[in-house]
Symmetry: C2
């Protein structure tokens, strides 16, 4: 019962769904999507591989649960004094930052449709659009546009994090890719790559949201 001095993992008595999901999140954070294995997971939890299946149906369900676990903490607590636009930006940023910290979440959101976590984002966006006064028929299209944009960014960020090895940063990677492009075929891409230095992914994400919000305002009026 006494805690060991240098023993990091405490010997919790029973296996539980929470412990399994927690360990899965840790493994996903530490070694990426390929790092999560029922063998590695059971080794870390000090059980047999099949024990996990008593608490979790399969790997897909485990990934969904891990995504939920991460996103539960990512949804900001709805400040009362913010405008609908600010609220939408906050929802987006919460997701952006969560995926920045856990890139595998981005892949997961893009893979499974109508996941509860995705529906929750959709719901929050939709309510803010209603508060914003977007007319009924346009609400569906507007919420979908915002959600799809956010999921698109999420997916690209996740893909980038997976492809670029942890040492180098994204900007260097993209810059090197674009330098290799044929100037005749890719003039725009190469020109824009020059602005990569003073470029911030997070700011660009927000700029995109503002663009869509401006469009909603323009068409709704």
């Amino acid at each position: 019962m006494a805690a060991g001095t240098r023993n990091t993992e405490r010997r919790e008595d029973a296996l539980s769904r929470e412990r399994i999901v927690g360990a899965a999140v840790e493994m996903l954070d530490g070694s990426g999507e390929g790092g999560l294995t029922f063998r590695a997971l059971s080794a870390q939890l000090k059980t047999g591989a099949g024990a996990i299946y008593w608490h979790v149906a399969n790997k897909s369900e485990l990934l969904v649960a891990a995504t939920e676990a991460v996103l539960a903490g990512a949804t900001a607590p709805e400040a009362a004094d913010e405008t609908p636009q600010e609220a939408i930006r906050a929802v987006g940023l919460g997701l952006f930052d969560a995926i920045d910290a856990h890139p595998w979440v981005g892949t997961q959101l893009a893979r499974m449709p109508a996941q509860v976590a995705v529906l929750r984002i959709f719901e929050r966006i939709g309510r803010q659009l209603q508060a914003l006064g977007v007319p009924g028929p346009a609400q569906f299209d507007s919420a979908s546009a915002l959600l799809n944009y956010i999921l698109g960014v999420a997916g690209q960020n996740a893909a980038m994090a997976q492809a670029v090895d942890p040492g180098t940063n994204r900007t260097d990677f993209l810059a090197s890719v674009s330098t290799g492009l044929d100037p005749g075929e890719f003039p725009f891409t190469r020109e824009v790559a020059g602005q990569l230095r003073e470029h911030d992914d997070r700011e660009q994400f927000l700029a995109g949201i503002d663009l869509i919000l401006a469009g909603i305002a323009a068409l709704g009026g």
Copy 2:
């Protein structure tokens, strides 16, 4: 040398990268992402599993090549009489329809960053924005917003196609999901689900593009 009467697959003499990629596309179309296997592929090509590795480095490269092969035919031929907005819509629709026919392409685009196919879309969008007169500093953000939106839709469509079994349609699936949601927690989502009947994915996709284009026009001054 004479063609068999009832023999569907002609016995082409040599294995080649093109034949491999072609067979891979067929298998992906027919049995989805999980259906593409080096064993199944080599069986259909009537060779050993390892033979493929002489023409293709690994499965990841094969998927990229298959995506390129499909998208090569999807890029519309740049009509001369269309406005920049129409051209952007056309690029988007070409991609939308290609992914509708080959859902695995959507997943693939979301998975690998800076794929040539993606850069080609980015380039075409960017050039149309220049033609539209979008000021230099805003071009990068605007092109990124459009690309991320398009990729987001692509990913969601792909996920949907993978999750819903071929028999049922998406609308029924989404409707049944939303009916199961707690009305107190998901009022907007449930309300919007009622509009699902008279809803068209393709039209909603275009509505989103128009929303972003309107935002670009509004912010561009």
